[in-house]
C-alpha cells in the first residue's frame, strides 16, 4: 500500500474492543518520549477515554546517549471505565533502545506486548545498557509478545525525500512509533498532524519529515502483517460537561490565577527555579494580562520575602518551590505568621533529603510543612489529591490565607505536578467570590485588632491615610500591636496565633468516605497524591467482599473536625504514605489511635497491587 492510510479508511483488520490499556513509552532522553506520550494521551482524551498519565524522566538534561540513567519514560493509562492512576504495570512497553528495555522490562506485565527498535540493539548500545548478550537473541524475552522492528531504518526511509540530515532524520523516530501506536489503538492522525504543523511551522522540512514518519508508522501497522488486531477503547461514561487534559502544575497555576480574580487582587509570585516546581513559575509568567506579576528571585529566601512584601502592600503574595527551597523559606514563613499577613506557599514535594531525587516524587515534607518553623509557628497546611484537584486546592489556599491572614502551605508533589488527567472545566460564574476587606477606618485602629469570629487581624495597607503603623517579627502587644516583651502577653499571643489556625477547622468540609461505609473493619486513610491508587485498591478489595473504606485528607493542619470520630468508627486504620510514616505520627499524637503505617520511599508512587496486598494482610492478621 503506497497511500498513507487515513483514520477513517475501513480495513478488514478485526478491531477488538477492550476496556483499556496501560502503555509506557521509554527511550533515550533525546528520543522525544515525552512528546510521544503527550500526543498519545491527547488522542485518548479526544476519544473520550478516562485517563491518567505519569512521565518519569531523568534528572540529567542530556545524559550520555544509550545509558540506563538517560532513559526517559511516559506512562499512560486509558480506559472506557473510571481511571484513578496511570496504572501499575504496562500492558504495552515501547522500548526505543537497549537501555530503555533494561530499565523498564521488569515492570511489563507477564505476557505483555513489547515493541522494540531493533535498529538500536548494536554492540555499543548493548554494552552501555549493561547487556553481555543481546536480549533479542537469547531467550530472556520469552513470555512477552515481542515485536522487534528496525524503527530507525523505517524512519530514515520514510523521511529520505525531505532533505533532513541523518541526525535530524533519526529524531523523527518517535513520530514513526506514534503512528504505529495510533494504528494499533485506532486513533485518528489529524490532531497530531495539526500539532506538528503548529509546532514546527517555521521549518517546513521538519513538518514534512515528522508527518511522513507518522504516516509511515501508521502504514506499517496496516501492511507489515505482524499484528493480528487493532484495538478500540470506547468512550468512558463521565459526567456531562466540557473537558480538557490538565497536569498538576498547570492546575495549580490556573487555580492561583482564578483565586486572585475571585478575590479581586493582583497576584505576585516570587519563585526561584527548582524541579519540579519551575513550571508554576513558567505558567504564571504568561498571565500579565490577569494582573499577575512573577519575579524570578535570587533565591528562595528572597522569593518568599518578596511575596510577603507584596501581601504587606495589599496584593496576593504567592511563592512556589520544592523541598530544598522550602527549607530556605522557613524563616520568611515564620515572619509571615508573626506579622499575620496572607501568603500562599506551594511546595511541590520531591525525593529528599537534600538534593535527593529531583525528578521523583515523595510526600516527606509533611512534617516540615506543619512543624518546620522555630518556636510555636502554626500555619495552615492543605494538600491536593489529583492533578485536577490542584486547581481546587490552590483556590482554597488563597481563600484561607486571605480570610485568616495567615500563611497557607499547599502540598503537591512530583507525581501530581507532572501527571495529568481529564478535567471538567469549571464554570467561572459558579466559583465563589473571595471576600477581601482592607481596613480604612482610623477610629480605634491598631494593626492587631482581630475579627472575633476568625481571629484574623485587620489588614491596613500602605497608602491608607491615617493608618500608618509598624509591624515586625518582634512580639506584639495583644491590645496595641506595639512591641512587647511582657511574659503573659507573649503567651497570650502564642495562643492567639495557635487558636486562629485551629479555628480554621470549623471552616473546612468534614471528612467523608471516598469509597466504602462510614464504619467497619479497616479505614485506609491517605493524603495527597496517593488518592488514585488507594481508591482503586480499596474498591478492588471491596469488590472481593472485604470490609474496608477509603477516606482522604485534604486538610492537614488543622485536621477536619470530625477526623477523631471517624477514626474511632473503624477497628483498624492503615495510613499509606510516600514517607516513613509522617501523617501516622500526627494522627497518633492528636488522637492516640493505633494507626498503622504503610511506608514507601522509592521516589515512585504506590502500585495498586501493593496496597491491595497490604489491605488483605491487615484484614487477615
Amino acid at each position: 500500500m503506497n497511500e498513507a492510510p487515513s483514520s477513517t479508511s475501513p480495513h478488514d483488520f478485526p478491531r477488538e474492543v477492550i476496556r483499556g490499556a496501560v502503555v509506557r513509552f521509554a527511550g533515550d532522553s533525546g528520543d522525544g518520549m515525552q512528546v510521544t506520550g503527550d500526543q498519545f494521551t491527547a488522542a485518548a482524551a479526544l476519544a473520550r477515554n478516562d485517563l491518567a498519565t505519569f512521565p518519569d524522566f531523568p534528572a540529567e538534561i542530556r545524559a550520555p546517549t544509550g545509558t540506563t540513567y538517560g532513559v526517559s519514560g511516559f506512562q499512560v493509562h486509558f480506559s472506557s471505565q473510571d481511571v484513578f492512576t496511570p496504572g501499575d504495570a504496562p500492558d504495552v512497553l515501547v522500548a526505543m533502545n537497549p537501555a530503555a528495555l533494561k530499565t523498564n522490562l521488569r515492570d511489563l506485565k507477564k505476557g505483555g506486548v513489547l515493541i522494540l527498535n531493533s535498529g538500536t540493539f548494536n554492540a555499543t548500545n548493548l554494552k552501555k545498557a549493561g547487556y553481555d548478550v543481546n536480549p533479542l537473541e537469547d531467550n530472556s524475552l520469552e513470555g512477552y509478545t515481542v515485536l522487534s522492528i528496525d524503527i530507525t531504518k523505517q524512519t530514515v526511509a520514510a523521511v529520505k525525500d525531505t532533505g533532513l540530515s541523518n541526525k535530524e532524520a533519526h529524531r523523527c523516530k518517535n513520530f514513526w512509533t506514534l503512528g504505529l501506536m495510533f494504528w494499533i489503538y485506532s486513533r485518528p492522525l489529524e490532531p497530531t498532524l495539526q500539532w506538528i504543523e503548529s509546532k514546527f511551522g517555521k521549518r517546513s522540512d521538519l513538518v514534512a519529515a515528522n508527518i511522513a514518519a507518522l504516516k509511515a508508522g501508521h502504514a506499517f501497522g496496516e501492511t507489515a502483517e505482524v499484528f493480528q488486531h487493532r484495538y478500540e477503547v470506547p468512550p468512558a461514561p463521565v459526567e456531562k460537561g466540557e473537558y480538557r487534559n490538565i497536569g498538576g502544575n498547570t492546575a495549580t497555576a490556573l487555580g492561583l490565577v482564578a483565586a486572585a480574580q475571585l478575590a479581586g487582587l493582583p497576584l505576585v509570585l516570587g519563585a526561584y527555579p527548582i524541579t519540579p516546581a519551575s513550571d508554576v513559575l513558567h505558567e504564571l509568567s504568561k498571565y500579565k494580562q490577569f494582573g499577575v506579576t512573577t519575579v524570578q528571585a535570587e533565591d528562595e529566601i528572597a522569593a518568599v520575602c518578596l511575596a510577603l512584601g507584596a501581601s504587606y502592600a495589599g496584593n496576593l503574595g504567592v511563592t512556589s518551590t520544592s523541598g530544598p527551597g522550602m527549607a530556605l523559606k522557613m524563616e520568611g514563613i515564620g515572619l509571615a505568621l508573626s506579622v499575620e499577613l496572607p501568603l500562599v506557599i506551594v511546595d511541590i514535594q520531591r525525593g529528599g533529603p537534600s538534593t535527593g531525587l529531583p525528578t521523583k516524587t515523595e510526600q516527606a515534607d509533611l512534617l516540615q510543612a506543619v512543624y518546620g518553623r522555630n518556636s510555636e509557628g502554626p500555619v495552615c497546611v492543605i494538600a491536593a489529591s489529583t492533578p485536577g484537584n490542584c486547581f481546587t486546592m490552590a483556590i482554597e489556599a488563597v481563600r484561607l490565607a486571605l480570610k485568616y491572614m495567615t500563611p497557607v502551605i499547599l502540598l503537591t508533589d512530583g507525581y501530581l505536578a507532572n501527571g495529568a488527567e481529564p478535567w471538567k472545566i469549571p464554570n467561572v460564574a459558579d466559583l465563589p467570590k473571595i471576600d477581601v476587606k482592607f481596613r480604612t477606618d482610623p477610629a480605634g485602629f491598631h494593626p492587631f485588632l482581630r475579627d472575633p469570629a476568625t481571629l484574623a487581624r485587620n489588614w491596613a495597607i500602605p497608602g491608607t491615610p491615617e493608618l500608618m503603623h509598624r509591624v515586625g517579627g518582634l512580639e506584639k502587644d495583644y491590645d496595641s500591636g506595639h512591641i512587647s516583651y511582657a511574659p503573659d502577653n507573649h503567651e497570650r499571643m502564642v495562643k492567639a496565633r495557635a487558636a486562629k489556625i485551629a479555628g480554621i477547622a470549623s471552616d473546612i468540609p468534614p471528612l467523608t468516605m471516598e469509597v466504602g461505609d462510614d464504619s467497619g473493619k479497616l479505614l485506609v486513610l491517605g493524603w495527597g497524591s496517593t488518592y488514585g491508587a488507594i481508591r482503586e485498591a480499596v474498591q478492588r478489595c471491596r469488590d472481593r467482599g472485604l470490609s474496608v473504606s477509603h477516606a482522604h485528607l485534604r486538610y492537614l493542619n488543622p485536621f477536619p473536625q470530625n477526623l477523631g470520630e471517624v477514626l474511632k468508627r473503624f477497628e483498624r486504620v492503615l495510613v499509606p504514605e510516600l514517607n516513613l510514616g509522617q501523617l501516622v505520627k500526627m494522627l497518633r499524637s492528636a488522637y492516640l489511635v493505633p494507626a498503622e503505617s504503610l511506608a514507601k520511599v522509592q521516589g515512585q508512587p504506590f502500585k495498586i497491587t501493593e496496597l491491595e496486598e497490604k489491605i488483605r494482610q491487615v484484614l487477615e492478621s
Binding site: A42, A45, L46, R48, P191, V238, K240, G241, E242, Y243, R244, N245, I246, L254, V257, Q261, P266, V268, Y287, K288, Q289, F290, G291, T293, V295, A297, E298, I301, A302, A303, C305, L306, L308, G309, A310, S311, Y312, A313, G314, N315, G317, E331, G332, G334, V339, I425, P426, N427, V428, I461, P462, G463, L467, M468, H469, R470, V471, G472, G473, I483
Partner: protein, 340 residues
C-alpha cells in the same frame, strides 16, 4: 504620582512616633534618625505613601521610630521584602534601613541583586563596622585584625567597602556621609530622595558601646579637613584646611595621587574634576586607602537607567494592550477541549 504628594506641609514632629527610642545613649543612630525626620517633610510625600523597611540589628529598629508605614522584617532580607512591596505598589516611596552586618553579611546577596536591578528604593546603610545588636562581634566592614569577643586573636578576613561593593554591582547611585555631619547628611539624603532607581547611601555611624571612635581618624573636628575629601559633581577634588590639597590621576598607573595645589605645588587644572556620572570616578574614590588618602564623602556616583519596577510596569501595560484584560473562562479552557 500626584496622590503621593502630601496635601499639608509636614514638619519633623509629624514623622516622630510615640515609641520610646531604645538605642544606647550617645549612639550615632539618634543623629541619623533626627536628620531623616528633619528632611523627610521637604520631600512633600504624604506619610501614608512612605514605607520604611528594615532587617535586624540596632539600625534596623529605625522603622519603629518613623511615623510612616514600617516593616521590621528578618535579618538581611529587607531588600527582598521591599522588592515585593515595590512590585505590588510602585507608587510607594520605599526606604530601607540596614546595617553593615544585615546588608553585607547575611543579606549581601539580596543587596547585590537590589542594586543591579535598580529597584526604585532608597537604602541607608548604617555602617558602624561592628555587630551592635548581638553585642560586638566583628562585621564584614571591620578592619583586618579586629579584636572582638568572637575574634580574640584578631579577625582574619579582609573587609569589604560598601560603596565599592555597590559600584561593583552596578548601583546607579552611591553616596557616603557621616552620622554627625548634619548638613552634609541632609544634602546627601535630599540627593538620594531625588534619585530614580536604587539610591545607596552608606552612613558612617558611631557605635559608642562596641566600636567607639571607629571613624575618629577622619571625622574628628581637628583632622577632618585634612582627612576627608567632600566630592561634588563638576568641582575639583580638593581638600585640606586651606583647600590646598588635591587628587590627581597618574595616567600611567591609573591611580590617584595626592598633590599640593597652588604655591609650590601643581596647578589647579591638574586636579581631577569630579564626574559623578562616570562610575570609574566613584570606584577610584571609594577605594582610596586610608590614611594615605582622605576618605571621600558625598555623592560618589549617580546615573540614570530604567528601574526594575518601571520596566515591569511597562511590560504589564504592553501585555494588557496586546492581549486585553484576561478572560478567566477562556484561560481555563486552555488548548484543546472536548464536550460530553
Amino acid at each position: 504620582m500626584s496622590d503621593l504628594i502630601s496635601p499639608t506641609k509636614l514638619t519633623k514632629k509629624d514623622f516622630e512616633t510615640d515609641q520610646d527610642v531604645r538605642w544606647c545613649p550617645g549612639c550615632g543612630d539618634y543623629s541619623i534618625l533626627a536628620n531623616v525626620q528633619r528632611v523627610m517633610p521637604e520631600f512633600g510625600i504624604a506619610r501614608e505613601n512612605i514605607v520604611w523597611v528594615s532587617g535586624i540589628g540596632c539600625s534596623s529598629r529605625f522603622p519603629y521610630y518613623m511615623n510612616t508605614y514600617g516593616f521590621h522584617t528578618i535579618h538581611g532580607r529587607a531588600p527582598a521584602v521591599a522588592l515585593g512591596i515595590k512590585v505590588a505598589n510602585p507608587e510607594l516611596s520605599v526606604w530601607l534601613a540596614t546595617g553593615d552586618g544585615d546588608g553585607l553579611s547575611i543579606g549581601g546577596n539580596h543587596l547585590m541583586h537590589c542594586l543591579r536591578r535598580n529597584l526604585d528604593v532608597k537604602i541607608l546603610m548604617f555602617n558602624n563596622r561592628i555587630y551592635g545588636l548581638t553585642k560586638g562581634q566583628y562585621s564584614p566592614t571591620s578592619e583586618l585584625g579586629k579584636v572582638t569577643k568572637s575574634t580574640p586573636a584578631g579577625s582574619v578576613d579582609q573587609p569589604v567597602d560598601p560603596a565599592s561593593f555597590a559600584l561593583g554591582v552596578n548601583a546607579s547611585f552611591v553616596a557616603r556621609s557621616i552620622d554627625t555631619e548634619a548638613q552634609h547628611l541632609s544634602d546627601v539624603l535630599r540627593r538620594a530622595a531625588a534619585h530614580v532607581g536604587t539610591a545607596f547611601t552608606e552612613i558612617y555611624q558611631n557605635c559608642n558601646v562596641f566600636n567607639d571612635g571607629a571613624f575618629d581618624a577622619f571625622t574628628d573636628k581637628a583632622v577632618r579637613a585634612e582627612r576627608q575629601v567632600r566630592v561634588e559633581h563638576g568641582k575639583p577634588l580638593l581638600f585640606g584646611a586651606n583647600n590646598d590639597k588635591g587628587l590627581r590621576l597618574n595616567p600611567r598607573t591609573l591611580a590617584l595621587e595626592v598633590v599640593t595645589v597652588g604655591d609650590g605645588g601643581v596647578a589647579l587644572s591638574e586636579v581631577l574634576v569630579h564626574d559623578e556620572t562616570n562610575p570609574a570616578f566613584g570606584q577610584l574614590l571609594a577605594r582610596m586607602p586610608f590614611p594615605e588618602f582622605p576618605v571621600a564623602i558625598g555623592v560618589l556616583h549617580a546615573s540614570q537607567r530604567p528601574t526594575y519596577d518601571g520596566t515591569l510596569r511597562a511590560q504589564q501595560k504592553a501585555a494588557r494592550e496586546k492581549l486585553g484584560q484576561g478572560d478567566l473562562a477562556k484561560l481555563l479552557r486552555g488548548g484543546s477541549t472536548w464536550t460530553i
